[in-house]
């Protein structure tokens, strides 16, 4: 179990690095595009959609990493002010609700991807690519989110991590 949790955390981290790489590549492509358009005076075809898809993919694929490092902002008014026991209960509920959202997106994300793949959907921009490639980021990203949430809930219930990362008792 511990090894599995370690593997999932490793995957989330690896996806985080991948998302960071995608952002860097996107910056490089934008610079290339600016060079081609404004210095060489040419027109660009693939740069705009590619950069957009890269950043969408970075969002979905990098999201488990952001979850791992507690980067998704929340309203922590109630968690700060309630007693530790209630805080624990709140954390479990909050995690289960997030898990539910990710499960829905995983399930329907697979359907969405499969439809694009089976129907050989192509992008509508001048640069035509099969849409299943960018769409794949959604089921994969939310799939890892589901796993990461399972690890988080396991850590929470087993006492490895305090609820909402708050170690001290209520102020």
């Amino acid at each position: 179990m511990a090894a599995l949790a370690r593997l999932i955390r490793f995957l989330s981290r690896a996806f985080g690095v991948m998302a960071a790489a995608m952002i860097v590549i996107a910056v490089a492509i934008v610079c290339h595009m600016v060079f081609v358009r404004y210095v060489l005076g040419g027109s660009t075809v693939w740069q705009t959609p590619l950069v957009t898809y890269l950043l969408i993919a970075a969002t979905f694929l990098g999201s488990p990493y952001v979850l791992l490092v507690r980067g998704h902002v929340n309203v922590d008014l109630l968690p700060i002010y309630v007693r530790p026991r209630a805080r624990m209960a709140l954390a479990v509920i909050a995690n289960l609700m997030s898990l539910a959202f990710c499960l829905v997106l995983l399930w329907y994300g697979i359907g969405f991807w499969h439809e694009a793949w089976a129907g050989a959907w192509m992008s509508s921009s001048i640069w035509r690519i099969p849409l299943w490639i960018p769409y794949l980021s959604m089921p994969v990203g939310f799939g890892l989110m589901v796993l990461q949430y399972l690890v988080d809930i396991h850590d929470l219930v087993s006492g490895r991590e305090p609820p909402f990362g708050m170690r001290e008792s209520a102020p």
Binding site: I23, V51, T59, L77, M97, C102, Y108
Partner: protein
């Protein structure tokens, strides 16, 4: 149930779910999915992934991670401390000059990074201990930094204004220009208040200090290139030369290169920290954008958006009473939610009302942003308060809050001034880009 009643139910359910402490992005998504299933049927769920994906499929949004990267590169370098030192050396003769230098450094750094917490952290880390060492009271020192940090979302380039532009389909170049003068006005108001307080309490006389001209010019060459990049980005935008994403992409690459060259950030680990912070911040914002758009779709498919707009239009109140209520509503929302979520969720509802009441959408974008600044220093979610609490752990939160209060009043004054003289926001874009 009428759409209006349903809207009230949605508001209550959303508040309850947000209070659980789950991530804002997923809370909005979950509420949206819940109401879609209940009112449109579960078969609609198969459309949710496409809505989430197409919500992000906008080249303008590409500029957000680029601007975040630009800010992260500057924030991790020593540019903040250089800016602060340069200003301090120029202003040391003025009684209260150190606070003025801090506020000025906040404004410039805010323009560079576009991030409120980063500005608070970078300037506050040096500014707060220095101000307190030289006899400024803790409330003024922390309050000034908390308020100065909020300028990041108003002074261009601003991610908040980009989102407003995307949500309302208004020109981002125009919005950026519109934010410039109100930003300066706000810094001016902050400075006036600080100087007055210093004069009244007799703080801030440090005549024993002296800097040579050499010292005054020393830090400038390292800071000026970054400021030139910002000026270049804004120029490229309003000149219609480049789209926001192109300007941001080139700006980000240049800032990263400058940080490496000027501040010798060769270290791979340091560069990874910049990228890590960028990834974390961008994905957090983009995820909120995606689910806020889903949320907005749900509101409009249940006719809540339209009904609320019609209901407000039928209220038959004067346009300024309307503006007052809108601002109170935004202020309350701003206490709990990040600006990105508020703008994307409320813009579709508010924009038709604003336009019908005869207000300029660009002007309203600026009013809304100043209002959102207030939310950054009001509890419970006032991010800047916690950043400052982390920098100066011996100053208690109530002291920071007490010190910030007059600066918050300055922001309210700024909103009132914007209402009385809308030209503060609209004059510059009209002068540069022509009247719309």
């Amino acid at each position: 149930m009428s759409p209006l009643q349903l809207g009230a139910v949605v508001a209550v359910v959303t508040t309850v779910i947000l209070m659980s402490g789950m991530p804002v992005a997923f809370a909005l998504g979950l509420v949206a999915i819940g109401f879609i299933v209940i009112y449109d049927g579960p078969q609609m769920l198969s459309l949710v992934p496409e809505m989430l994906f197409s919500g992000l499929e906008d080249f303008t949004l590409v500029s957000i991670p680029m601007f975040v990267l630009m800010g992260a590169a500057v924030a991790s370098s020593r540019a903040g401390s250089d800016l602060y030192e340069a200003l301090e050396r120029w202003l040391f003769r003025l009684p209260g000059g150190l606070v003025v230098a801090n506020l000025g450094a906040c404004a410039l750094f805010a323009a560079l990074t576009g991030s409120s917490p980063a500005t608070c952290a970078a300037i506050g880390k040096m500014g707060i201990p220095e101000m307190r060492k030289r006899g400024y009271s803790a409330d003024l020192a922390t309050g000034a930094i908390a308020a100065g940090g909020t300028l990041g979302i108003l002074i261009p380039p601003s991610i908040t204004l980009i989102l407003y532009g995307v949500a309302t389909e208004t020109s981002i170049g125009r919005l950026f220009l519109a934010g410039a003068l109100p930003g300066l006005m706000l810094v001016g108001l902050f400075m006036l208040w600080s100087l007055w307080l210093c004069w009244r309490r007799g703080m801030g006389h440090h005549t024993q200090l002296a800097y040579t001209w050499r010292q005054r010019f020393e830090a400038l060459p390292r800071v000026v290139p970054f400021l030139l990049i910002i000026a270049g980005v804004v120029y490229a935008l309003y000149g219609g030369i480049a789209t926001p994403s192109e300007a941001a992409g080139v700006g980000a690459a240049l800032c990263l290169v400058l940080a490496v060259v000027i501040y010798r950030m060769w270290d791979v680990r340091q560069l990874w920290h910049v990228l890590r912070d960028t990834t974390r911040e961008s994905i957090m914002i983009l995820m909120i954008i995606a689910t806020s758009i889903l949320f907005g779709y749900m509101l409009s498919s249940l006719y809540i958006t339209q009904s609320v707009a019609e209901w407000i239009a039928a209220l038959d109140v004067s346009r300024w009473v309307l503006m007052l209520w809108i601002n109170i509503f935004l202020l309350i929302a701003g206490c709990f939610l990040p600006p990105a979520a508020i703008i994307l969720m409320t813009a579709p509802i508010l924009l038709p009302i604003i336009v019908q009441a005869g207000f300029d959408p660009i002007w309203f974008g600026i009013v809304l942003t100043v209002n959102m600044e207030l939310g950054l220093i009001t509890p419970p979610v006032g991010l800047n308060l916690y950043v400052i609490n982390g920098i100066a752990p011996d100053v208690r939160l109530p002291t920071i809050l007490w010190g910030s209060l007059p600066f918050m009043l300055c922001m309210v004054v700024a909103i009132v001034l914007l209402c009385v003289f809308p030209g503060i926001a609209t004059w510059l874009p009209d002068a540069v880009m022509g009247v719309q």
